[in-house]
Structures are given as C-alpha cells and as structure tokens.
Symmetry: D2
Subunit: 346 residues, 4 copies
C-alpha cells in the first residue's frame, strides 16, 4: 500500500484520478491539492464524492507532500510542475506529471509552442515519456514520468505500428482529431459554456495546437527520422472522448494484411489496446469510462491512402487512467490494477 497525493485535484483530470485511485487496491489517497478550494471539503467541489472522500483540499505544497506520500500526480497548468520539482523531492517521491512540462525533449520546442520559460530543464533528459505501451520498461525505472497529452496518446497509438513498420509515408500524415469538452478543463470561460458548445462543432488551434510537436517527436522516433504533420483538433458537444481520423499515403507494398499484421504485432498482447474487427469503426462511446484504446483502419485503393482511426476516453487513457497505469509500472503493481474498467454504454 502506497500513499498518493494530487496537485491540482479539482480539475477534471484530477477528479478522474480520484475516481480511479479510490478503487485501487494498492493506493491510499492522502492529499487533495487545490489552490482554488483550500480548506473546502473535496466533496463540496465534486458532490459525486460525497461519503467517499471526507478530506479537505490542501494548498499545492510539493515539498510538504514529498514527505507524506510515495507518489505525486501533478494535474496542473503547464509550467507548475517544472517550477516545483527539484532533486530533493525526486529523491523522496515519484512524480507523474500530467502537464506538458517534461514531454518534449527539446526545451526550445517547448518554449516556442508553450510560450513559457522552462523552470527546470535539467530534468527533461531524465523524464520518461509515459506512453505506457511504448515505453513500458523505461517507465518502470522512472522517478519522473511525463504523462502524454490526450490528443497525443490517441494520435500516436493510432498511427504508431504503420509508421514503425514503414507502411505509410510519414510526410503525408494528416491527423484530424475530435474531442469532448472535458479536455478544455474546468475553467469558467464563455467558450466552454453549455450554450456555446451544445449543437455546435468547430476546429480550433488550427496549425498551432501544442500537441503537434509532441506527436511529431514520438512518431519521429518511430519513423527513425524527424518529420512534420498536420494536426487539427475539433471541439465536439460531448463530455468525454477523443476520436482520431488519420490519413496517410501507403508505402510501396503496404496492403490490408501487412497493416493488420503491424497492428497485431505491436498491440496483439496489449490489454488496453483493442484492434477492432475489419470494417468496424471506433466510436468514443465504446471506450467511455475505460482505459481502452480502440483502433482500426481502412484502405482506399482509389487514392492509395489508408485511413487510421482511434478512440479513447480523454480523461482515462488520455489522462488519469494512463497516469495510474504508469504508476502501476513504476511501483511494480499489476499494470491493469484499478483499471479493469468496463466501458459504460449507453
């Protein structure tokens, strides 16, 4: 039994972490960090937790927290984790950072896309990119895990086997992604009001979304060389879910069988990644509330392209679920502990 603390426990990702950790056999929740609600009962912020959590929200004190717990989750805005972490803390406690602070290996790329100065670049090298299925062995040994972004998790896992096996031409890759609104966080903004989102769909951050370089970096490793791609996110009137539709030109000799074999090769033994039957398109509803990633593809012979599709719950595999999966790996627990969640339908 380990002890866990969350910095940023009252955002949507933080709330989802609480939901998952409450049912985790090896974890005891000790610290509900939330600058905005200090001294308020946690259940007053999230009444779904009434009678389940009786603790009060605490200030975001990573120093104090490091003495009390074995693992810290930071579910905070960009920059905060980097500004708090130091060697002493990392010598005492493991950290799973759900922000972008340690996802990009090139600090210049981080500063260019996020428009903030990185406060602790000295830990970037050490941090392990926590896409659990791809970096499992490194995550096991990590002190500091950079939990991937929601769009990135879905985008990378949808395309990885084809890139890795050279079945598509990387430079032709176009990723069109659709997300539920919880991805936008719990901030009180007009753009996220019910009436603005409901009965509406829009693209946003076109050519400039900050998950772009993260996807490029990771898929670049798979391709064996750097390349650029297009990534366009859309806001969909639903709470949860990300759907990725990705397009790429086939490499020579790539066909249905080769592509299916590639997905099977990398995902065939993965519990959380489900390669759907031929002609079944992923739907976000089929993974809602779970840590699953559903993927599939379709070849268009007329244009010699493949359409790759992937679906996740952005708050689970796209945030809190993968964070718990990484924690399981870091502490030697069963990788699926606390995560055998059956998707809820309808």
């Amino acid at each position: 039994m380990i002890k866990a603390g969350i910095i940023g426990a009252t955002g949507y990702a933080g709330g989802e972490l609480v939901r998952l950790l409450l049912n985790h056999k090896e974890v005891e929740m000790k610290w509900y960090g939330s600058r905005s609600y200090i001294d308020k009962k946690y259940y007053e912020v999230y009444q779904n937790m009434f009678k389940l959590v009786d603790d009060k929200c605490m200030d975001d004190n990573m120093e104090a927290l490091a003495d009390e717990v074995d693992v810290i989750f930071t579910a905070t805005p960009q920059g905060l984790c980097a500004s708090l972490v130091n060697e002493e803390i990392l010598s005492k406690v493991k950290i799973v950072d759900l922000s972008a602070d340690f996802r990009l290996k090139d600090v210049k790329v981080y500063e260019e896309w996020y428009k903030i100065q990185h406060k602790s670049p000295e830990f970037i090298e050490e941090a392990v990119y926590g896409l659990s299925e791809l970096n499992r062995e490194d995550v096991k040994k990590a002190r500091l895990v950079a939990n991937p972004g929601c769009y990135t998790t879905c985008s990378i896992l949808t395309c990885y086997p084809l890139i890795k096996e050279g079945l598509i031409q990387p430079e032709t890759l176009i990723i069109d992604a659709k997300s539920g609104t919880s991805g936008a966080g719990r901030g009180a903004k007009i753009d996220n009001l019910y009436c603005e989102v409901n009965e509406n769909i829009k693209a946003y951050g076109v050519t400039t979304h900050r998950h772009t370089p993260e996807i490029e970096e990771q898929l670049g490793y798979a391709a064996g060389r750097a390349f650029c791609l297009n990534f366009t996110p859309h806001l969909v009137p639903m709470n949860r879910g990300i759907l990725v539709t990705a397009y790429a030109s086939l490499a020579q000799d790539a066909d249905e069988d080769a592509i299916r074999a590639a997905y099977e090769k990398y995902y065939g033994s993965e519990y959380f990644i489900r390669v759907l039957d031929k002609d079944v398109c992923p739907q976000t509803k089929w993974v809602e509330g779970s840590n699953f990633v559903d993927v599939n593809f379709k070849i268009d012979k007329r244009t010699n392209r493949v359409i790759m599709m992937g679906a996740i719950d952005n708050l689970v595999k796209g945030a809190a679920g993968q964070a718990v999966q990484n924690m399981n790996l870091m502490f030697g627990f069963e990788e699926t502990e606390g995560l055998k969640l059956v998707p809820m339908f309808p």
Copy 2:
C-alpha cells in the same frame, strides 16, 4: 463463485447487468440471452464489450438455463418472465425479474395498468419486492425477486421516511419525475431518435404511467393505508439519470429537524443512500454510473409544503445495480460486492 444467466441481455438494462457482473468477484457469466441476436457474438451488439465477452447470444430458454446457472436475471418486456417461470425452475435457480410481472401484489391492478393477462399469478404471493434497503431480510430468503422499476425506486426512496414517520399528508403527494432516455429502452422508435429527443423536454404518460400503482402500493404500506398520488414522468435529453421532485403538505408538527431525523433514521447506515447536506440539491450527474441514491428536501413555510428530491442512475440503482444488490443478498455475498462504483464526473 456462482453462475449467472441473463434473459434479455441485449437491452440497455441487460447490457448494464453485463457491465456490473463482469467486475463481480463471485459471479461467472454463462448465458447471454437475446432473441433478436441469436448466434451473434455479444460484443457485436455492444462493441464496448469487445475483448471482454467472447460469448454468442443464446435463445431465451429458461428451462435450459435453469440447469446451467444459479441465478437468472430477466431483463425483458412485461409478461415474458411470468410466462416462463414455473415451480421446477424455481426449485433449481433463483430469479431476479427486472420486469413488472411480480411487482404488484394485486393481479387485477397489474392487468388493468399493463393491459396483459398475468400468466403465473400463483407466484405473486411468494415474490419479494426487491427494494433492497426496505425489504432486505425478505430478499435474503427469496427465490423470486421482483426488481423495482426505475421511477419507483427513486420515488419511493425519496419519500419513504416522511411517509413512514407520518411527517407528510399522503394524499397531498405529487411526484414530478425526469428521466434520461435509456429508460425508454433500445427499441427502434421514431420517438426515441436522437433528433426527436435532443434539445427537447416533454411530459408523457400523464396520469397513466404504469409505475404509478407500484409507487402507491409500496408507499401505502409505509403509510399504513392505501392512498392515491400523482406521478408525472418527463423525458430529458440525456442518456442516464432520474430526478424526482416530490411535493407534499407537512403534517402537524413536522419541521426541518424532524424530517432530517427521519431520513437519518432510515438511511443513516445505508451505504447506497446519501442524504445530502442542507441546501444541496441532488443532481443526476453526481450518481451517474453508480448505485447511489442521493436525497434531500427543502421546506417551504409559505405554503407549508416540503419538496423532496432524489436522484439515481436509472440503469444502476434503477435496474441492473439493484438487481445485483438483490442477488448479493439472496446468495449471502457482501451487499456492496461489485457495486462500489464511484460516480463518473463529468
């Protein structure tokens, strides 16, 4: 470890039963009954179950099923369970019937409100009304449990303590209920199409909804005498959730303290019923995906009425969750086994 079968496994309540039973330590699922999808893989009907359930759908054969399993859930249209059950079957297997067939003690009332002839009235007397918290001891000994309706569960639990303690005048009771659309089932009807339900709210079954006599019977027991009430259901554009807003005139001497004391008396030690803090109104989202019932009340001194409010997830506490709770009681398992579900928010 017991074996379970579901007749009607491909409706929404059936699907929710599967979701819950897959995570139940003491139950092995053996039979996915579904007349409409015989021989089709269950996951082809509900792709959220891909890789989790590999069985095919089977015909609704209660005789055969009784030889294979320890408990049968019937999540079927009214009349089917009554037409299938017999003494031999009940001597082999326990049944939790999610239809209305055995909920009403007076067969005439059943036939009048449901417009069908009851096929096995001889078991009505024996059947136990499975509102778990109110009839716990009887459920433990039952062979045949009549699982309550969704609206009824929420309505009864919201009002019960006040009726039982004589704090309101029963004849003044008016129940205005709002339900998500999964309560209407998975039948292909124009009225339940996305475009008809979305951005819309309506009352339906006004003065004639079939849950009315069920609520009246049970609250009549609590009151110690029969009485009539108004029950009006509404269809709300959401998948899950029932909210009950109930109005009644206060009895003499009833006040804030007496009412809160009544709720505490009956629900204070119940895991699944949460009496919210003063002035907090229940929201369906706070119980979504869980077996919780959230209740609260507000007194209006100007009109000498109390407004009682209750919220459940119609597919969990209003159907599959309570069915599992009843099964737990019938087989001597921990009552909360498989049901410690943290509500999902958002």
Copy 3:
C-alpha cells in the same frame, strides 16, 4: 420605420432581440449597447451576425440613446434599468425592460426577493406588466413596459384560464418548471459549463426563485385574491425551451369540458397561444425559435387534480419575442410583425 436601441445587446436575450429585429419591417437597429464589448464589432461577439450587422458595440448610455431612438430595450441585470430611467428619458422614448425592475407592484416584495434597493420606485405604478395577451390594451398605451420573466410567462399562461374561471383551488397550485440553459445567461460560471450541464438535471432555487412572487402577483389578480404557490425550476441539458408542469386540485364542478372551454375562451383567438388537441403533451422542441406558447391539460380523476402543461422558447416568448410583441403593440404595428416564426424542427 422606427429606430431601436438595445442596452445589453450581447447577452443571450439581447442577441435574440437582434435576430428578431433584423427581420422586422418597421424597425431599424441603431444601437448595440454592451459595456463588456465597447468598440468591438457586434459580429465579433456573435459571429452568426457576420455580414448582417456591421455596427460596433456602444456603451450603455441611456441619455444619449434616448435622443437617437424611438424605443429602448434593456436586456440587463436587475437594477440597471431602474438606475438609468428618468422622466426626461421617458418623455422622449418608449422602454421595454426585460429585467425584473418594474414587474412587481410592491417595491418591498422586489427588494426582499432581489436583495437590492429599487432606484426609481416612482415609475413602478406607471409601468405596465407586458404579458401581451393579458394586458394588451394597457401595453398599447404604455411608455414603460416590464417584460415578464421567462418562467413567469410560461407559468402564468399555462394556468391563467383555470384560475380566472375558478376551476382550480389556487392554494393547491404547484408549478414544476424545466428550463434550457440559455436562461442562465452568458456569464462565465463553472455551473454553466458544458460538462457540468450536459448529461445532468437538477432543481435549483427551491422555494426561493425570484420568479415566484411575480407568478403569485399575476395569478393573484386572476384569482381575485392573493395566494401562495410552490414554484420549482430545474436546469435541463438543452439550449432553449421551458416546460411547465403544474398541478392543482379541481374546484367543484370543474371537468374536462369546462377546462377546455376556459382555455378556448381566453386563448381561442390568440395567434401565439396554441391549445393542443386532447392528449397531446407540449414539447419544447415544437415551439423552438418561435413566439408560440403551447398549452394543454389532463385531469386525474383518481386524485381530483388537473395537470396543466405549457411550453415556450425562453428566449422568444420568454424574453425577446414578447418584447417585440409589446413593442408592436406600443407603436401600433401589427402585433405579429416580425414574429411569424415557424418553429424549427428538429
């Protein structure tokens, strides 16, 4: 052709006024008042108006506005209109106030329910309560119209004929109302975020909602005596629409025919009020985007109560539409001018 200005043009009710006035033959829009967006193009706030409105937002200057236009709509928070209006302004311009400032004849009731001091009680007497169908002749002569609240419009019109004709017992009246989220306005509040409202329903303002005294005052006039009632609003996951379900005990001799006759008597020749066919329940979707009020009722002989139902679009008949209807009356235009909007379905 008259000139119109709106103070508070960038709220949802203000935006709806613009939508309606753009298609009004007798009105030219001259002033888009909005403190929050001064000097910003109106279409930048509401891109649906791109190419339709090229004006900039102006400060809320009622003095200046009075010299430029013939009618001012105030779609502002409570208290603002009362703080701006004066005799000089009213001598130049007609005002339709969409806030609550002049709806209640008793200033003490206003100050008690709204918790603010009334800044110009001297105009309360003169102000006409603009429920167009009930106060048509007075509205025609008014300088200052108090446009009714959204819940009040729907509640009063649903119950009025039965109260007026003595067919129900006023003290037994209970109004359970359900509203779309646009009624909560465009303020950036966590409670109104998409993820908080979607897949959720709740009651709010139970026993304390400020539309209560407004409904009581107007229905008190109809009853010929003051009385108290219960009014409970609920927030529904949809943009537009209010549904009222009202319950009351029948007076002696009241029956189906008498009640239908009462509705016909008062509404039979009203263009905007549609008494639906027997057994057809109002749905908010059927009036969406229009100025219609759909009403109907059902008698429950078992409890001797009548259930009255009414539906409106809260932004049209519940706000901007009725404001335009009142303007039409005040200026002698065709009452339906600009308002023959066919409801949009789906």
Copy 4:
C-alpha cells in the same frame, strides 16, 4: 404566386421545406406528400406546424400533382424521383429533386455507388446540378434540378475557389466532414437512437460514402480534369450542421493572399457565402437555421498545406434552403426570397 407540392414531406428535409415555404411570399403550399402518413393531418406528424398547416398528408402521386402545382420538390429516398418523372410531367411542372437521382452525369457511377438501376437515364443530361452559386444561369433555365447532397454542398463550396484557381494540388485533397444527426433521416433505426448518438462520435462509410463521386465530379469540372479524393463523414451528437475540414498541398506560388483573393473572387458578391475574417474558424452553430455557408482557411507553412474549413446547416443550405434558392432562380423570384434567415444562436 405559384403552387408547390412536396413528395416526401414528412422526412426531415421535407419538414424543413415546409418551414421555409410557409414564409415564402411567392409560394402557396398545396400538397404534403407522404406515403407513410396518408390521410393523417400534417401537424400530427410535426406538431410544430399545429395551427400553421391544416392539410392532410397525401399519397405520392406525381401525375396528379403535376396538374395541380407549378413546382414539385422530391425529398425522397434514392430512386423514387427517377421512377416517377416523365416527359409529360416535365412539360407541366418544374421539379427540384433532393435525392441523388440526377446528380451524377455518368449513370454507371450512379449505379455503382448507389447499387440501384437508374429508371430514367434519359433525363440525366438535361438535369441541372443545383449548386446555386456555381450553376446559377443553368438553374434559371432548368425544368429539372438535381439538388446537391448536404456533404457535397459544403465540401464543394469550401474547396472550389482553390481548385478552380489552381492553388492546390487536386490529388492531395482530403475531406474530413462532420455532420449532425438529422442528415441520417427520420427512419426508426437503432443506430440513430438518442442513446446511441449522444456522447459519441464515429466515422462511417469510410472510403465508400456515396457523396464521394458527386464531390469528385463537380470539383473535377473545376480542376479541368478528373481526380480522386478522400472523403470521410462522421456522425456528431447534434441535430443540425455540417463542418468540413479539408486538407490539400499548396500549388507552387500559392500563398495567403492568393487564396483569400480566390475566395473573394468567387464569393465576394454572394449573399449566402460568408468568407470569415482571418483566423476565425467556422462553427456550425453560427449558420444554424440559415442558408449561409461560412468558409475560411489556414495555411501551414511547415507542411506546405492549406486547411480549408466550411460550415452549413445541413437541412437548409444542405437540402431545403438550397432547394428553395433553386426554385427562386427557376421562377425568376428574388434569389434570397424566403431565405433571409438570421442564424439562431444559441
């Protein structure tokens, strides 16, 4: 004043035609054709039309209809219009066909993608493809107009200027489209139930959607040569709206200015097409209920691609609105008559 009849008046596109024609100054509705609801009052099918339409539904008799009206709209499944039309009918009446029967000039392509035999190929040559802005002059002279598909209207208008001006490489074009659920029609199918669509997004018809050859044919004319593209539709949980996100590699010398100039050249004087300001992405909500098409684009220098975006209301510009626009052209009415609809927000 002309007389109009609709064959297929009770589908969603038919209902929208009724909504628009009721407010059209030059048209009198004479025939509400609906095989499914013969002899039922039209308003009983669509209660939003209560008191607005008192007619009964009639059988789909094009012969009889041709003697009674000046224009027939066919809003029917594929194949029906082609099976009914003949020279005698066309000599009496003008037809706007909202089905796909006359959209494709190559009957083999039609039969391959639609899997039905064409019943009157002799009229394909004559039929005018009714994308009003592109074929205005031909539409004016037409007896038979093939009203474009919803996805096609949005896709073509979003990309047309860039293809026409040679600013993109046609073969690189990828169209990712997202549609509200009314596009799926009013058929009672499980896939379109509220609970299946809500909180969900999926791609469907991947590589096989029947609007693909229609887009290819029309954009092929613009390009001056035939080419293939990828078109992927998605189902979004909303009633109305289509958003198109299209990707293509820039041709040599194409830049921001050249592209904006191209949009201005073709759409600058079009009432219904709005080229949004730089960096403003189209949202479906901004055109809801209107005949507008909102378009814009963004260049990604990193990948040398342009992302083109377009939004329409699928039932208006994507079906009924464009049909009325075409009728206006065919009869010499003002092109915008009955269509100056201000988008409804929220």
